[in-house]
C-alpha cells in the first residue's frame, strides 16, 4: 500500500532541494548584509521608542493591526501536483495521512513567527498600555486563535461552493479581529468568555457548508501559488527558471497598455504591460508605495523621511527589475516576428517609467513640509530621480540571458 506520508516527505525534500542551492546566491547578493543592517536600524529605533514612548500612543490599535494578520493568515504546503487528480484520486479516503504533516508544519512554523513578534512587541505593549494583559495568557490566547484560524482555513479549502469559500474566509478575518479587539479593550475575564462563545459559534458554523473529502483542484491551485511565492522571492535575487506567476484579473486596469504605439518594436511592451498589471509584482509595488507614502508623510521634512523615501524607491526598483526576467522562456517570442533587441530595451524602459511614477507619487506627501523645508523636499526628489536613473543605467547594462549564451 502506498505510504502517503512518505510521498509528501519526498516531495517536500525535492522542492526544497531545488530551492536551497539558490540561497547561496541570495546571501551573496547582499541580502544578508542588508537584513543585518535593517535589524540593527530597527533595534536602535525600537529601543529608543520603548525608552521614550510618545504620549497617547495607540498601542491597542498597533497590537490589533500587528496580530490580526499574523493570527489569521494560514497556509499549508501540500506539494500537490496536477497529476494527483489521476494518480492519487484512488487514495482519497487515506489522504489524511498525506495532509497530516502539511497541517502540523503549517501551524507550528507560523506559531514560531507569532511568538517572535509577540516577544518583541511585548516590551512596547507592556509599557504603553495602561492595563496590559498578562504575558502568558496573551500568548496562549494568540496560539489558541492561531489554531482556530488554521482549522477554519483548512475547512474553507474543502468547501464545495466558491461563494462559501470566500464568505468563510471573510468570516475568519472578522472572528479573529473581533476576538483580539475584545481581548485588547475589555477586561480579561469578560473578554475570554466572549471569545469562547464567539469561537464556539464559528466552529459550529464551519460544519454547515458541504465539503469535499479532498478539494483536489483547489489544493493543487493553492500549492502552485505557494511554490510560486517562494520562487518569486528567490527571483528578486537570482534568475529562477520557469517560475509560475500568479495572475490577478484586475479588470479596473485592463485599459493599461492599449495606447502603446501600434508597431512590432512596441509589441513586447504591450505584452509586458499586460503581464505586469496582472502580476504579483504590481501588488507588492502598490503595497510598498502606500506604506512608503504613509511613512514619508509621517516623517516629512526630516532626514529620516528622505531616507525612508529613497529606501522605498530602491525597494520598488528591485521589484521592477524582475520585469527583465519576464517571458524569458516564452515560446511565442521565438516564433513571432518580435524584434529581439526590442525586448530588453522595452523592459528596461517600462521598469524605469513605473519606478519613476511611484517615486513621484511617494514624494507628494513630502509637500506637507514644503513651507518649512523647501530645500530638503526638492533635494529629496532630485536624489530620488537620480536613483531611478541609476537603476535604468544598471538594468540596461544587464545582458539578457539568451544573448549572453550566444
Amino acid at each position: 500500500m502506498m505510504d502517503l506520508s512518505e510521498l509528501r516527505l519526498k516531495r517536500r525534500s525535492r522542492f526544497w532541494g531545488e530551492v536551497l542551492p539558490y540561497l547561496g546566491y541570495v546571501i551573496q547578493s547582499g541580502v544578508a548584509v542588508l537584513t543585518l543592517f535593517l535589524i540593527i536600524a530597527f533595534s536602535a529605533w525600537y529601543t529608543s521608542l520603548v525608552q521614550h514612548i510618545p504620549a497617547g500612543l495607540p498601542i491597542r490599535w498597533i497590537m490589533l493591526i500587528l496580530f490580526v494578520p499574523l493570527t489569521v493568515n494560514s497556509s499549508f504546503r501540500t506539494y500537490m501536483q496536477s497529476a494527483d487528480t489521476v494518480f492519487l484520486l484512488p487514495q482519497e479516503s487515506r489522504m489524511n495521512q498525506y495532509f497530516r504533516a502539511s497541517w502540523t508544519s503549517g501551524v507550528i512554523y507560523k506559531m514560531i513567527g507569532v511568538t517572535l513578534v509577540f516577544m518583541v512587541s511585548w516590551l512596547l505593549y507592556f509599557r504603553a498600555d495602561v492595563d496590559p494583559k498578562p504575558f502568558w495568557l496573551f500568548l496562549i490566547l494568540l496560539y489558541a486563535l492561531k489554531i482556530v484560524a488554521s482549522i477554519g482555513s483548512w475547512k474553507e479549502q474543502q468547501m464545495v461552493s466558491k461563494r462559501a469559500y470566500s464568505s468563510y474566509r471573510l468570516l475568519r478575518y472578522a472572528v479573529i479581529a473581533l476576538a483580539l479587539a475584545a481581548w485588547l479593550w475589555q477586561p480579561a475575564g469578560k473578554s475570554l468568555i466572549f471569545i469562547a462563545l464567539l469561537v464556539a459559534a464559528y466552529m459550529a458554523s464551519l460544519k454547515i457548508p458541504s465539503r469535499h473529502l479532498v478539494a483536489w483542484e483547489r489544493l493543487i491551485a493553492l500549492e502552485k501559488i505557494h511554490s510560486g511565492r517562494v520562487m518569486l522571492v528567490l527571483g528578486w535575487f537570482v534568475d529562477v527558471p520557469g517560475r509560475q506567476q500568479r495572475v490577478y484579473q484586475r479588470k479596473w486596469l485592463s485599459w493599461a497598455g492599449n495606447n502603446i504605439p501600434w508597431k512590432p518594436q512596441a509589441a513586447y511592451r504591450y505584452l509586458l504591460t499586460k503581464s505586469f498589471i496582472r502580476s504579483d509584482i504590481l501588488g507588492i509595488v502598490l503595497r510598498a508605495a502606500v506604506l512608503g507614502a504613509l511613512l514619508v508623510w509621517w516623517t516629512r521634512g526630516t532626514m529620516l523621511g528622505s531616507g525612508i523615501y529613497l529606501f522605498f524607491i530602491f525597494l520598488i526598483g528591485v521589484q521592477m527589475s524582475s520585469l527583465l526576467r519576464y517571458h524569458s522562456e516564452s515560446f511565442w517570442l521565438t516564433v513571432y516576428p518580435v524584434p529581439a533587441e526590442s525586448r530588453h530595451t522595452n523592459a528596461v524602459l517600462l521598469a524605469f517609467q513605473i519606478q519613476l511614477m511611484f517615486a513621484l507619487l511617494m514624494w507628494l506627501p513630502m509637500l506637507g513640509a514644503l513651507k518649512s523645508q523647501m530645500s530638503t523636499v526638492f533635494g529629496t526628489l532630485v536624489v530620488g530621480v537620480v536613483v531611478c536613473a541609476l537603476f535604468r543605467f544598471f538594468l540596461s547594462r544587464k545582458v539578457p540571458k539568451d544573448e549572453d549564451d550566444e
Binding site: S254, W262, K263, L271, K274, S275, V335, P337, P339
Partner: protein, 248 residues
C-alpha cells in the same frame, strides 16, 4: 528548389542529438494557395519537422526557406511570413482573448483597422464573442485551441503551420476551421497541416506528405499516393495503412 514555393525544405536532417537524428534527408515544398497534409504515425517526425520550420530546432543538414528566405538570412521576414497553431494551446495566462489577438496583430505589423475587422470576424466564426474579454486561464481547452487558431488567422501570413488543430474542438469548431482554411487557401495562403484524422483532411488537402520514421515515404495528391501504393481509388486512411504497415 522551386523559387515560387512558400515553403521549401531541401535535404533536412535533424533531431535532438547529432548521433541519433529524427529526420533523415527530408525534402518537401508547399506552393502558394496550397494546403498540404503532413501525415504519419506518432513519432514519425511531424512535430520535429514543424519545430525545424519554426526555428525552434536547428537543422543538422539541409536548408529551410520560407518565401525564399532562410531564418539566418532575415529572421524578421522569415518569422513574419509564417504563423503556427500548436497541438496544445500555449497561451499567456495573464492575457484575455482580445489581448492575445492584439499582441499577435502588433507583432505581425497588422494595421489596427485590419486587426479590428479580422478579430471581429474570427470571434464571430469561432463563436468566441462572449469570451473575448476573458482571461485565457478561464477558458476550456477547446476554447483555448480556438484562441490559438484565431491568433494565427489574425496575422494573415503567407504560410500557416498547423499541428493537430482538431484536438479539443467541438464539431462546429472543426467545421468553422476547415471552412476558414479553405477561404484562406482561396485567398492565396498556404497551409501545412498535420493531423491523424485522415478522413477529415482527405477532402480538404491538395497534397499529402507521408512521413515514416523520419523519412518521406510518399508524397503527392490522393491519386498520386494511391498510384505509389498501387491501390487506386482507395481512401486516404487505407492508403496510409498500406504504406506504413510492415515498414518497421
Amino acid at each position: 528548389m522551386n523559387d515560387t514555393s512558400v515553403l521549401d525544405i531541401q535535404g533536412l536532417s535533424g533531431g535532438y542529438s547529432l548521433n541519433r537524428p529524427v529526420l533523415h534527408d527530408i525534402s518537401l515544398q508547399v506552393q502558394p494557395g496550397e494546403m498540404v497534409g503532413l501525415i504519419g504515425l506518432n513519432g514519425a517526425g511531424k512535430s520535429t519537422t514543424m519545430k525545424h520550420i519554426l526555428g525552434l530546432m536547428n537543422p543538422q543538414k539541409g536548408d529551410i526557406r520560407v518565401k525564399g528566405k532562410k531564418r539566418e538570412e532575415d529572421s524578421a521576414a522569415y518569422h513574419g511570413a509564417l504563423a503556427f497553431v500548436p497541438e496544445s494551446p500555449l497561451l499567456y495566462e495573464e492575457m484575455t482573448v482580445r489581448e492575445h489577438l492584439e499582441f499577435t496583430a502588433r507583432a505581425y505589423d497588422v494595421s489596427q483597422k485590419d486587426y479590428e475587422e479580422r478579430a471581429k470576424k474570427l470571434a464571430q466564426i469561432f463563436r468566441m464573442e462572449d469570451k473575448i474579454d476573458t482571461l485565457s486561464t478561464h477558458l476550456s481547452k477547446g476554447m483555448r485551441q480556438k484562441v490559438m487558431i484565431m491568433c494565427a488567422f489574425v496575422a494573415r501570413p503567407s504560410l500557416y503551420i498547423i499541428d493537430e488543430p482538431f484536438l479539443g474542438l467541438d464539431p462546429l469548431g472543426i467545421r468553422s476551421l476547415l471552412d476558414f482554411m479553405v477561404e484562406l487557401k482561396q485567398g492565396g495562403s498556404s497551409i501545412l497541416l498535420s493531423s491523424h484524422i485522415l478522413s477529415t483532411i482527405e477532402n480538404y488537402c491538395d497534397r499529402f506528405i507521408v512521413l515514416h520514421q523520419g523519412k518521406v515515404i510518399a508524397q503527392g495528391s490522393l491519386q498520386e499516393i494511391a498510384q505509389q501504393a498501387g491501390q487506386p481509388g482507395v481512401p486516404l486512411e487505407q492508403l496510409f495503412y498500406s504504406l506504413v504497415q510492415g515498414r518497421d
